[in-house]
Symmetry: C2
Protein backbone atom coordinates (compact mmCIF):
# COMPACT_ATOMS: atom_id res chain seq x y z
CA UNK A 1 0.00 0.00 0.00
CA UNK A 2 1.30 3.43 -0.96
CA UNK A 3 0.15 6.49 0.98
CA UNK A 4 0.91 10.10 0.09
CA UNK A 5 0.19 12.82 2.62
CA UNK A 6 0.12 16.49 1.72
CA UNK A 7 0.54 19.14 4.39
CA UNK A 8 0.16 22.67 3.14
CA UNK A 9 0.07 26.34 3.91
CA UNK A 10 -3.37 27.80 3.33
CA UNK A 11 -3.58 29.02 -0.26
CA UNK A 12 -0.59 27.13 -1.60
CA UNK A 13 -2.60 24.73 -3.76
CA UNK A 14 -2.18 21.57 -1.69
CA UNK A 15 -5.73 20.40 -2.18
CA UNK A 16 -5.62 20.85 -5.95
CA UNK A 17 -2.26 19.07 -6.02
CA UNK A 18 -3.73 16.17 -4.04
CA UNK A 19 -6.72 15.80 -6.36
CA UNK A 20 -4.57 15.93 -9.47
CA UNK A 21 -2.03 13.47 -8.06
CA UNK A 22 -4.81 11.04 -7.18
CA UNK A 23 -6.12 11.33 -10.70
CA UNK A 24 -2.72 10.82 -12.36
CA UNK A 25 -1.61 7.99 -10.07
CA UNK A 26 -5.02 6.36 -9.77
CA UNK A 27 -4.93 6.62 -5.95
CA UNK A 28 -7.96 7.11 -3.73
CA UNK A 29 -8.32 10.70 -2.56
CA UNK A 30 -9.55 11.65 0.90
CA UNK A 31 -10.61 15.08 1.91
CA UNK A 32 -14.25 15.98 2.59
CA UNK A 33 -14.99 12.25 2.93
CA UNK A 34 -13.12 12.37 6.22
CA UNK A 35 -15.24 15.23 7.50
CA UNK A 36 -18.39 13.41 6.37
CA UNK A 37 -17.36 10.29 8.29
CA UNK A 38 -16.54 12.29 11.43
CA UNK A 39 -19.86 14.12 11.16
CA UNK A 40 -21.82 10.90 10.71
CA UNK A 41 -20.20 9.26 13.72
CA UNK A 42 -20.71 12.26 15.96
CA UNK A 43 -24.20 13.06 14.68
CA UNK A 44 -23.18 16.61 13.80
CA UNK A 45 -23.55 18.69 10.66
CA UNK A 46 -20.52 18.30 8.31
CA UNK A 47 -20.23 22.07 7.91
CA UNK A 48 -20.10 22.48 11.67
CA UNK A 49 -17.45 19.75 11.95
CA UNK A 50 -15.31 21.26 9.21
CA UNK A 51 -15.56 24.74 10.66
CA UNK A 52 -14.82 23.54 14.18
CA UNK A 53 -11.80 21.50 13.12
CA UNK A 54 -10.23 23.93 10.69
CA UNK A 55 -11.26 27.44 11.60
CA UNK A 56 -11.33 27.48 15.39
CA UNK A 57 -8.15 28.10 17.32
CA UNK A 58 -6.99 26.58 20.55
CA UNK A 59 -7.42 29.61 22.79
CA UNK A 60 -7.74 28.62 26.42
CA UNK A 61 -6.68 25.10 25.62
CA UNK A 62 -5.01 23.81 28.79
CA UNK A 63 -1.45 22.75 28.11
CA UNK A 64 -1.74 19.95 30.64
CA UNK A 65 -4.51 18.46 28.54
CA UNK A 66 -1.97 17.13 26.10
CA UNK A 67 -1.13 14.29 28.41
CA UNK A 68 -4.75 13.19 28.63
CA UNK A 69 -5.65 13.59 24.96
CA UNK A 70 -5.80 9.83 24.66
CA UNK A 71 -9.04 9.88 26.57
CA UNK A 72 -12.04 10.77 24.46
CA UNK A 73 -14.29 11.42 27.42
CA UNK A 74 -13.90 15.19 27.03
CA UNK A 75 -17.12 16.82 25.83
CA UNK A 76 -18.31 14.80 22.85
CA UNK A 77 -18.91 17.80 20.66
CA UNK A 78 -15.64 19.51 21.50
CA UNK A 79 -12.83 20.14 19.04
CA UNK A 80 -10.70 17.54 20.77
CA UNK A 81 -13.31 14.83 20.44
CA UNK A 82 -13.72 15.69 16.77
CA UNK A 83 -9.97 15.60 16.30
CA UNK A 84 -9.75 12.17 17.88
CA UNK A 85 -12.61 10.91 15.76
CA UNK A 86 -10.88 12.33 12.68
CA UNK A 87 -7.72 10.49 13.69
CA UNK A 88 -9.69 7.26 14.00
CA UNK A 89 -11.24 7.76 10.54
CA UNK A 90 -7.79 8.29 9.03
CA UNK A 91 -6.48 5.14 10.71
CA UNK A 92 -9.47 3.28 9.33
CA UNK A 93 -8.73 4.50 5.81
CA UNK A 94 -5.26 2.98 6.05
CA UNK A 95 -6.66 -0.39 7.13
CA UNK A 96 -8.46 -0.56 3.76
CA UNK A 97 -5.02 -1.24 2.33
CA UNK A 98 -5.54 0.81 -0.82
CA UNK A 99 -3.15 3.36 -2.33
CA UNK A 100 -4.37 6.78 -1.25
CA UNK A 101 -3.68 10.47 -0.88
CA UNK A 102 -4.72 12.36 2.22
CA UNK A 103 -4.55 16.15 2.33
CA UNK A 104 -3.93 17.82 5.67
CA UNK A 105 -5.24 16.57 9.04
CA UNK A 106 -1.77 15.46 10.19
CA UNK A 107 -2.14 12.20 8.31
CA UNK A 108 1.67 11.99 8.05
CA UNK A 109 1.90 11.72 11.83
CA UNK A 110 -1.19 9.54 12.28
CA UNK A 111 -0.12 7.05 9.60
CA UNK A 112 3.60 7.10 10.33
CA UNK A 113 3.84 3.32 10.73
CA UNK A 114 2.77 2.86 7.09
CA UNK A 115 5.79 4.88 5.94
CA UNK A 116 3.85 7.36 3.78
CA UNK A 117 5.48 9.72 1.31
CA UNK A 118 5.08 13.07 3.04
CA UNK A 119 4.88 16.29 1.06
CA UNK A 120 4.70 19.85 2.36
CA UNK A 121 3.67 22.64 0.01
CA UNK A 122 4.00 26.36 0.60
CA UNK A 123 4.23 29.53 -1.45
CA UNK A 124 5.13 33.20 -1.26
CA UNK A 125 2.32 35.33 0.19
CA UNK A 126 1.68 37.09 -3.15
CA UNK A 127 1.31 33.74 -4.92
CA UNK A 128 -1.13 32.53 -2.27
CA UNK A 129 -3.20 35.69 -2.51
CA UNK A 130 -3.38 35.27 -6.28
CA UNK A 131 -4.39 31.64 -6.00
CA UNK A 132 -7.05 32.32 -3.37
CA UNK A 133 -8.68 35.22 -5.18
CA UNK A 134 -8.69 33.36 -8.48
CA UNK A 135 -10.06 30.10 -7.15
CA UNK A 136 -12.01 30.30 -3.93
CA UNK A 137 -15.30 32.14 -4.07
CA UNK A 138 -15.27 32.95 -0.35
CA UNK A 139 -11.81 34.51 -0.65
CA UNK A 140 -13.06 36.90 -3.32
CA UNK A 141 -15.18 38.66 -0.74
CA UNK A 142 -12.18 39.45 1.45
CA UNK A 143 -9.83 42.40 1.16
CA UNK A 144 -6.20 41.45 0.58
CA UNK A 145 -5.38 42.43 4.14
CA UNK A 146 -8.17 40.25 5.52
CA UNK A 147 -7.09 37.36 3.33
CA UNK A 148 -3.51 37.54 4.60
CA UNK A 149 -4.89 37.65 8.14
CA UNK A 150 -7.04 34.59 7.43
CA UNK A 151 -4.01 32.71 6.00
CA UNK A 152 -2.02 33.43 9.12
CA UNK A 153 -4.84 32.32 11.41
CA UNK A 154 -5.51 29.06 9.60
CA UNK A 155 -1.82 28.20 9.39
CA UNK A 156 -1.52 28.97 13.10
CA UNK A 157 -4.39 26.62 13.92
CA UNK A 158 -2.77 23.92 11.77
CA UNK A 159 0.48 24.42 13.60
CA UNK A 160 -1.17 24.28 17.03
CA UNK A 161 -3.23 21.23 16.13
CA UNK A 162 -0.13 19.41 15.00
CA UNK A 163 1.69 20.32 18.17
CA UNK A 164 -1.20 19.09 20.30
CA UNK A 165 -1.54 15.87 18.31
CA UNK A 166 2.10 14.96 17.92
CA UNK A 167 4.29 17.39 19.82
CA UNK A 168 6.10 18.10 16.57
CA UNK A 169 6.33 21.30 14.56
CA UNK A 170 4.11 21.81 11.54
CA UNK A 171 6.03 22.78 8.44
CA UNK A 172 9.41 21.76 9.89
CA UNK A 173 11.18 20.03 7.02
CA UNK A 174 12.39 17.06 9.06
CA UNK A 175 8.88 15.61 9.02
CA UNK A 176 8.61 15.60 5.22
CA UNK A 177 10.28 13.90 2.31
CA UNK A 178 9.68 16.67 -0.18
CA UNK A 179 8.95 20.33 0.44
CA UNK A 180 7.70 22.20 -2.59
CA UNK A 181 7.47 25.92 -3.25
CA UNK A 182 4.39 26.28 -5.48
CA UNK A 183 4.89 30.01 -6.11
CA UNK A 184 6.11 29.66 -9.70
CA UNK A 185 3.97 26.69 -10.65
CA UNK A 186 0.63 26.07 -12.23
CA UNK A 187 -0.52 23.07 -10.14
CA UNK A 188 -1.63 21.42 -13.38
CA UNK A 189 2.04 21.32 -14.48
CA UNK A 190 3.37 20.54 -11.01
CA UNK A 191 1.21 17.47 -10.40
CA UNK A 192 2.81 15.16 -13.03
CA UNK A 193 6.29 16.19 -11.82
CA UNK A 194 5.39 15.31 -8.23
CA UNK A 195 3.72 12.06 -9.33
CA UNK A 196 6.93 11.01 -11.10
CA UNK A 197 9.02 11.90 -8.06
CA UNK A 198 6.69 10.01 -5.72
CA UNK A 199 6.80 6.96 -8.00
CA UNK A 200 10.60 7.06 -7.87
CA UNK A 201 10.43 7.23 -4.08
CA UNK A 202 8.07 4.26 -3.79
CA UNK A 203 10.19 2.33 -6.31
CA UNK A 204 13.58 3.09 -4.79
CA UNK A 205 15.80 0.22 -3.73
CA UNK A 206 16.81 1.30 -0.23
CA UNK B 1 20.41 29.11 -20.06
CA UNK B 2 19.31 26.81 -17.24
CA UNK B 3 21.04 27.01 -13.88
CA UNK B 4 20.51 24.64 -10.97
CA UNK B 5 21.88 25.55 -7.55
CA UNK B 6 22.17 23.06 -4.72
CA UNK B 7 22.44 24.24 -1.14
CA UNK B 8 22.97 21.48 1.37
CA UNK B 9 23.54 20.47 4.93
CA UNK B 10 26.97 18.96 5.42
CA UNK B 11 26.75 15.20 4.86
CA UNK B 12 23.39 15.18 3.10
CA UNK B 13 24.79 14.18 -0.29
CA UNK B 14 24.41 17.50 -2.11
CA UNK B 15 27.70 17.25 -3.93
CA UNK B 16 27.03 13.72 -5.19
CA UNK B 17 23.54 14.81 -6.25
CA UNK B 18 25.01 17.74 -8.17
CA UNK B 19 27.55 15.58 -10.00
CA UNK B 20 24.96 12.99 -10.91
CA UNK B 21 22.45 15.62 -12.04
CA UNK B 22 25.08 17.24 -14.25
CA UNK B 23 25.83 13.86 -15.76
CA UNK B 24 22.18 12.96 -16.40
CA UNK B 25 21.17 16.40 -17.71
CA UNK B 26 24.41 17.07 -19.56
CA UNK B 27 24.95 20.32 -17.63
CA UNK B 28 28.33 21.78 -16.69
CA UNK B 29 29.22 21.13 -13.07
CA UNK B 30 31.07 23.63 -10.90
CA UNK B 31 32.59 22.86 -7.57
CA UNK B 32 36.36 22.68 -7.06
CA UNK B 33 36.81 24.63 -10.31
CA UNK B 34 35.48 27.67 -8.46
CA UNK B 35 38.06 27.28 -5.70
CA UNK B 36 40.80 26.81 -8.32
CA UNK B 37 39.78 30.05 -10.06
CA UNK B 38 39.69 31.98 -6.78
CA UNK B 39 43.08 30.58 -5.80
CA UNK B 40 44.61 31.48 -9.16
CA UNK B 41 43.32 35.05 -9.02
CA UNK B 42 44.47 35.60 -5.45
CA UNK B 43 47.79 33.79 -5.87
CA UNK B 44 46.99 31.47 -2.99
CA UNK B 45 47.07 27.73 -2.59
CA UNK B 46 43.70 26.10 -3.48
CA UNK B 47 43.71 24.04 -0.27
CA UNK B 48 44.22 27.21 1.76
CA UNK B 49 41.40 28.94 -0.10
CA UNK B 50 39.01 26.03 0.35
CA UNK B 51 39.82 25.70 4.03
CA UNK B 52 39.54 29.43 4.66
CA UNK B 53 36.20 29.72 2.85
CA UNK B 54 34.52 26.62 4.16
CA UNK B 55 36.01 25.71 7.50
CA UNK B 56 36.67 29.02 9.21
CA UNK B 57 33.93 30.74 11.13
CA UNK B 58 33.12 34.40 11.38
CA UNK B 59 34.17 34.93 14.98
CA UNK B 60 35.00 38.55 15.69
CA UNK B 61 33.47 39.58 12.40
CA UNK B 62 32.20 43.11 12.96
CA UNK B 63 28.48 43.35 12.31
CA UNK B 64 28.89 46.85 10.91
CA UNK B 65 31.14 45.45 8.22
CA UNK B 66 28.14 44.10 6.38
CA UNK B 67 27.35 47.52 5.06
CA UNK B 68 30.81 47.93 3.58
CA UNK B 69 31.20 44.43 2.16
CA UNK B 70 30.93 45.87 -1.33
CA UNK B 71 34.41 47.24 -0.92
CA UNK B 72 37.13 44.67 -1.52
CA UNK B 73 39.84 46.78 0.06
CA UNK B 74 39.74 44.69 3.22
CA UNK B 75 42.89 42.55 3.59
CA UNK B 76 43.42 40.77 0.29
CA UNK B 77 43.94 37.40 1.85
CA UNK B 78 41.03 37.67 4.23
CA UNK B 79 37.97 35.48 4.10
CA UNK B 80 35.91 38.42 2.91
CA UNK B 81 38.16 39.11 -0.06
CA UNK B 82 38.07 35.43 -0.97
CA UNK B 83 34.30 35.41 -0.65
CA UNK B 84 33.99 38.39 -2.97
CA UNK B 85 36.34 36.82 -5.47
CA UNK B 86 34.31 33.61 -5.28
CA UNK B 87 31.18 35.67 -5.96
CA UNK B 88 32.84 37.22 -9.00
CA UNK B 89 33.88 33.80 -10.33
CA UNK B 90 30.30 32.53 -9.98
CA UNK B 91 28.96 35.59 -11.81
CA UNK B 92 31.51 34.95 -14.55
CA UNK B 93 30.34 31.34 -14.90
CA UNK B 94 26.82 32.59 -15.59
CA UNK B 95 28.05 34.94 -18.30
CA UNK B 96 29.25 31.87 -20.25
CA UNK B 97 25.57 31.26 -20.93
CA UNK B 98 25.80 27.48 -20.58
CA UNK B 99 23.47 25.20 -18.62
CA UNK B 100 25.16 24.48 -15.32
CA UNK B 101 24.90 23.18 -11.79
CA UNK B 102 26.60 24.94 -8.92
CA UNK B 103 26.83 23.33 -5.50
CA UNK B 104 26.91 25.57 -2.45
CA UNK B 105 28.60 28.99 -2.28
CA UNK B 106 25.28 30.85 -2.18
CA UNK B 107 25.02 30.64 -5.96
CA UNK B 108 21.21 30.86 -5.65
CA UNK B 109 21.55 34.35 -4.18
CA UNK B 110 24.43 35.47 -6.40
CA UNK B 111 22.73 34.34 -9.63
CA UNK B 112 19.19 35.32 -8.66
CA UNK B 113 18.65 37.44 -11.78
CA UNK B 114 19.09 34.32 -13.95
CA UNK B 115 16.14 32.67 -12.19
CA UNK B 116 17.95 29.44 -11.27
CA UNK B 117 16.17 26.34 -10.02
CA UNK B 118 17.17 26.27 -6.37
CA UNK B 119 17.37 23.03 -4.44
CA UNK B 120 18.09 22.53 -0.75
CA UNK B 121 19.01 19.06 0.52
CA UNK B 122 19.16 17.91 4.10
CA UNK B 123 18.90 14.66 6.04
CA UNK B 124 18.42 13.23 9.50
CA UNK B 125 21.61 13.25 11.58
CA UNK B 126 21.89 9.43 11.56
CA UNK B 127 21.65 9.37 7.76
CA UNK B 128 24.35 12.05 7.48
CA UNK B 129 26.68 10.17 9.84
CA UNK B 130 26.18 7.01 7.78
CA UNK B 131 26.87 8.84 4.52
CA UNK B 132 29.97 10.59 5.86
CA UNK B 133 31.58 7.52 7.36
CA UNK B 134 30.88 5.45 4.25
CA UNK B 135 32.11 8.00 1.74
CA UNK B 136 34.56 10.55 3.02
CA UNK B 137 37.95 9.25 4.07
CA UNK B 138 38.61 12.16 6.42
CA UNK B 139 35.31 11.52 8.24
CA UNK B 140 36.34 7.95 8.98
CA UNK B 141 39.00 9.22 11.33
CA UNK B 142 36.48 11.10 13.46
CA UNK B 143 34.42 9.70 16.30
CA UNK B 144 30.66 9.97 15.80
CA UNK B 145 30.52 12.76 18.36
CA UNK B 146 33.26 14.71 16.60
CA UNK B 147 31.58 14.20 13.25
CA UNK B 148 28.26 15.60 14.54
CA UNK B 149 30.20 18.54 15.99
CA UNK B 150 31.88 19.11 12.62
CA UNK B 151 28.52 19.01 10.82
CA UNK B 152 27.12 21.62 13.17
CA UNK B 153 30.13 23.88 12.76
CA UNK B 154 30.20 23.72 8.96
CA UNK B 155 26.44 24.28 8.70
CA UNK B 156 26.82 27.23 11.07
CA UNK B 157 29.53 28.77 8.89
CA UNK B 158 27.34 28.27 5.80
CA UNK B 159 24.47 29.97 7.58
CA UNK B 160 26.63 32.90 8.71
CA UNK B 161 28.21 33.32 5.29
CA UNK B 162 24.80 33.44 3.66
CA UNK B 163 23.60 36.00 6.17
CA UNK B 164 26.65 38.19 5.55
CA UNK B 165 26.36 37.86 1.78
CA UNK B 166 22.62 38.28 1.39
CA UNK B 167 21.04 39.07 4.73
CA UNK B 168 18.81 36.02 4.21
CA UNK B 169 18.58 32.81 6.17
CA UNK B 170 20.33 29.70 4.94
CA UNK B 171 18.05 26.70 4.73
CA UNK B 172 14.86 28.76 5.01
CA UNK B 173 12.49 27.19 2.50
CA UNK B 174 11.34 30.48 0.97
CA UNK B 175 14.64 30.76 -0.89
CA UNK B 176 14.31 27.38 -2.60
CA UNK B 177 12.04 25.74 -5.15
CA UNK B 178 12.49 22.22 -3.89
CA UNK B 179 13.67 21.01 -0.49
CA UNK B 180 14.60 17.35 -0.38
CA UNK B 181 15.08 15.04 2.57
CA UNK B 182 17.79 12.62 1.41
CA UNK B 183 17.57 10.37 4.51
CA UNK B 184 15.76 7.50 2.81
CA UNK B 185 17.43 7.80 -0.57
CA UNK B 186 20.42 6.39 -2.33
CA UNK B 187 21.58 9.48 -4.26
CA UNK B 188 21.98 7.29 -7.33
CA UNK B 189 18.21 6.71 -7.31
CA UNK B 190 17.36 10.24 -6.26
CA UNK B 191 19.27 12.01 -9.04
CA UNK B 192 17.07 10.89 -11.99
CA UNK B 193 13.95 11.82 -9.99
CA UNK B 194 15.31 15.32 -9.33
CA UNK B 195 16.45 15.69 -12.95
CA UNK B 196 12.93 14.90 -14.16
CA UNK B 197 11.44 17.38 -11.68
CA UNK B 198 13.91 20.09 -12.70
CA UNK B 199 13.15 19.49 -16.37
CA UNK B 200 9.44 19.94 -15.62
CA UNK B 201 10.22 23.18 -13.84
CA UNK B 202 12.29 24.58 -16.70
CA UNK B 203 9.65 23.44 -19.17
CA UNK B 204 6.60 24.76 -17.33
CA UNK B 205 4.29 27.21 -19.03
CA UNK B 206 3.91 29.90 -16.38
Amino acid sequence: MKIITISREFGSGGRELGKRLANIMNFDYYDSEIIAAVAKKSGLDPNYVEDKLNNHGWHNFPITFRSTIGSATYMQSSKVALLLEQKRVIEEIATLGKNCIIVGRNADVILKKYNPFNIFVYAAVEAKIKRCTERASESKQLTEKDLVQKMKEIDKIRSQTRDILSGSDWGQRDAYHLTINTSDWDIKDLAPAVAAFANSWFGRKS
